[in-house]
Assembly symmetry: D2
Homo-oligomer: 353 residues x 4
């Protein structure tokens, strides 16, 4: 029944605002005896860190993580792991107009409607900066599931879909594109959006290999249900697909079947329309997730809106924003997938030994 906690056995709770002194996460339920140091977490934070290319926000944050509890002599103790990241580059003046009027597409109005009051600085709690805490937690989750490899990439930006797939390309360009041609096109596309004060949406794909058959807890903790909740909890996400997703809705039963046959190391599947999940339980095939990010709501183009007092006005969101939040969404989607899988591994072990 938590608001800011996710997970069932391997649980994490995040805290912090965009312009507060720090943000952090407390991980509870982590198995003991796992080797863990800041060095295991920092690389994933670096991947998500802002300011690494001109295609992301220019806010400069080192995002240096500290482990405050739960680790002794380099190993997890089974007690809560508290991770903290200081906010270094808050410039509240950038956001002064946000206090007075609502930015369409942002959480501003909804937060005021809910809480009667909000920390408007940089979006406060609703800022995507919170995802740094998830990425830190996700790094720990990965260590709980060493049998699993998680890979995310950007599949489309602004409707321009990558056609090739070469996993080796993903870390070779600032877009996490698995297609060098797409990366080249997107450079122009994102530059154009950035310069014109616009923004672009994106589709992120993520795959987990090595997930054994049997994870996932039907009916209301199904693996796909958990992944959907996890993905949809990320800022700017508006759609989630498992396997073929919406495309499956246009298929016939024969075309959508994933036939099986005996293989050298257990059953082999002749297709993976299901994205590695049947009845909410992993089948042993790669688990496949696709996530739609809307374009960044913060744009320089003035948009019609109202003030807190309800008067008509216009707002143009200056400041330092990602022209395409989906790009930095890749490590966040990966982290959420790791967190769900670690949780489901332990949950499966609880019931099925």
């Amino acid at each position: 029944m938590s608001y800011n906690t996710f997970g069932r056995v391997f649980r994490f709770t995040t805290w912090g605002e965009s312009h507060g002194p720090a943000l952090g996460v407390v991980i509870d339920g982590c198995p003991p005896g796992i080797t863990l140091s800041e060095g295991d977490i920092q690389p994933w934070l670096d991947k998500r860190r802002p300011g690494t290319s001109r295609f992301t926000t220019q806010r400069r944050e080192p995002d240096a993580v500290r482990i405050l509890s739960g680790v002794f002599e380099g190993r997890t103790t089974g007690t809560p792991i508290s991770l903290m990241i200081d906010n270094v580059d808050q410039r509240s003046k950038d956001y002064s107009n946000v206090a007075l009027a609502y930015r369409p597409g942002h959480a501003d109005y909804a937060y005021d409607a809910k809480y009667g009051f909000r920390d408007h600085r940089g979006g406060g709690r609703s800022s995507a900066r919170e995802t740094a805490a998830r990425v830190a937690a996700g790094a720990v989750a990965r260590l709980v599931i060493p049998e699993v490899t998680i890979t995310g990439w950007v599949e489309a930006i602004g409707g321009d879909v990558a056609t090739g797939f070469d996993a080796g390309q993903i870390d070779q360009n600032p877009f996490f594109a698995a297609d060098a041609n797409a990366a080249a096109r997107w450079e122009t596309l994102v530059d154009g959006a950035r310069k014109s004060g616009s923004s672009l949406g994106a589709v992120v794909a993520c795959e987990a290999t090595g997930v054994p058959a049997g994870w996932g807890a039907p009916l209301y903790a199904k693996l796909d249900s958990e992944l959907a909740a996890a993905a949809m909890s990320i800022n700017a996400v508006k759609g989630v697909e498992i396997g073929d997703g919406f495309a499956a809705a246009a298929l016939s039963g024969e075309a959508n079947a994933d036939p099986m046959r005996p293989g050298a190391a257990g059953p082999e599947f002749l297709a993976n329309h299901a994205g590695g999940i049947a009845g909410g339980i992993s089948t042993g095939q790669p688990v496949r997730l696709r996530v739609a990010f809307k374009p960044t709501s913060s744009i320089l183009t003035p948009v019609e809106t109202i003030t807190r007092e309800g008067d008509a006005t216009e707002i143009a969101t200056k400041g330092r924003h990602d022209p395409c939040v989906g790009i930095r969404g890749v490590p966040v989607v990966e982290a959420m997938m790791a967190l769900v899988l670690a949780d489901q591994k332990l949950l499966h072990r609880a019931q099925c030994g």
Copy 2:
């Protein structure tokens, strides 16, 4: 941390298998004093009931619900509401081959991998029959949110998308189509699939009007996150969208904005790309959800598979199946939306009074 429970304050737990004596749901956390009788629940079950047209399974189940607790003198008491539906038309012989081999696309293999053992009769726990319990619970949820109206319909079958929208049509055809022309086309389409032993996927849309601004609990109980989990927990669902969903990923920030202006009764929005949710909180606009159902996995066409012992075989799923499970998915999606909204209403009240 529940497996078969959904919700945070208004919670329900379902139980039962396709071919067991009965199935049911226990609702916990329902506010006291609400007028409730079987007559409030039965119409929704009737909407989901099998055998009402040739386009659904021919299993004959009256799906008569009984209230076993939580109601006294016609009103809810605030204690658990236990609802039970007897299974009447189980014919286990229909499913004998399922015990021996895995049906591709079904949960058969995954359940065995997880539990080492399964009730194979009619899919056991993984049968869509469980959704009757959800629909019953959803009927109670609707009474908790009388300010909200929930309407679901089928938007596409087998890739054939309805182009018109007339809410008055939805109950006038066996497909819950909001477009009479589409309904006419789908009759041919679904008949074809049925006769050829094939099946079809579908897209279901669902809209809730009357949701006030402020429901939804960021960050890990966001309204969209809860809806995604709820939708993805339904059998055969592989994709979820809020508002424009994946289409938003192809838009620019200007095109995706939902500008606001002062209105007679509070803020007015000039668009609703966001589907009524910003930052995980309702904005007061209609909440819009789209759900992709894969084609029914049970088809007459033989598919390559393996036996429980791991040997190669083929399986053709005879028996009584929906040629397009998405159709009867409409009342289920509606129910899940009602359940999420009722829960979020109470959750909001808990924190914000």
Copy 3:
């Protein structure tokens, strides 16, 4: 965040009122593959069943349990286990005056204050009849922890404390006394209370042997904390002790120590003041719990009270009541201990493998 659910991994949800058609429990998270039939549950219900001696209520309930789901071919499937017990001997007329005035010591006034409304028949949901559902769930829990033996007994009635302890006596008398002399004295004592329309409190002790070291989840799911919550959730319970309990508060550190020495099969403890739990985790010693039951609030002696309208009146609770609810509390305390231990076993397995 449940109201009527207990447990973390092995969870149960009870439903039902004293005078409704039935009561039941849904168990979720039970491991698959456990042999289970009604015959495994019924003996424990029989132990709790009313009307077995003149020292308990004369309500005649067979308390026959039915398994409605979660078991296939005699084994648990890992899906929810729904158990139902019909109410047979409801006589609502017995309780007519309860509708109009509040019985001191009962939940009547508090339920009205909370819910504005209540099912007054036989105490409705607040009736100890609900504990039948716990006992049924506890029978399943015992099967999850075959390594553990749980034994409960009555230690004192109305302040008369048993001085001997012979486990073999417990089932030889209607008081679950482990001391034949005490049983003889209590016969007179309880008969006296019954005949004079009075009632008596009791202290119940319960011990679990075979619990391995390592169960219990600090800090907020400590084994002792869970046992305390479980015990205090039983009707009429007002006190809980682990090990020496309040007596430990009068000891010095030396007197309260449980020294250890090497033993043939691991560490041996020279005392068990701690009741088998240190730091919230089992030590491998017997887990010891003591529970105080207040005297039954339903007494024939008229007591000053008020009506629902707030006017002064007197009430004498006629009907069929236990002169000492603590007696039938024994199987309930045992069941709750089994439920906590089963849950903690699985919870431990989740985190620690």
Copy 4:
């Protein structure tokens, strides 16, 4: 399903070890708009702070709290409140022998049995130092329930029971005694224990006035059940009573009744044996809790024990310990009561409006 989280709506998660860099708590679900600064929390921490008299441990910790999130412009925002307290006076050398052998009565052996490994410095996570985080959270909880006044005091030390009660005395002596004579006696008693390297148990009482009728969520979140869990989760607590507790078990029904009569401002009760709770729900009377603390397990007197390798040895726990942990238990019991009541207030509001 949390290990280190407590509460249902108003939830808190603590983290940190005795000798780590810091400890903290994240509070989730706090209502928005509450005035909150460090100044609201610090006085309660000061009350619990070590080293304030010779009757507590001489570890010097300022226990200065910092608010890291969830508060904006002096008011709570409804988002997670992160509180942190630095550890300043860790001297790990004090505890070197603890790494090698188990201290009887401590969590040492149990933690090793559970996790295979532990942070032995100062008891690590099992140290009572964690209760500072609870006290900080409790300070926030008090602000959520301004209608309630919570008062705790020591009722007995080492079996010497206070006979008088004068609330005005509680803050006038280092024992939180409500009886000046008892305080004088306890000075001699605790001094004696301290000087002889022994320790003493204590009984702490706590009362909440102003709790309206209707809080508490039957059946498994009963107010008394929650209080019992909360109290038993505190280090060294071995017993819990609500109202008359174990004494009620020796009473007759008539003697234990709390008769009611009409009063000027609603019902009046003529007694409060029940401790303000009936059927798990508050009645409007003062809520009364009694808690038994065992004597500090850390004593200078050598005790027989085993090493981690299982060999026989003796251990005398040097270092800086409270001769009677029950004394500093008072603010902790108060905090836990505040946390339970705040949670139940919101939980009640969720269901009953």
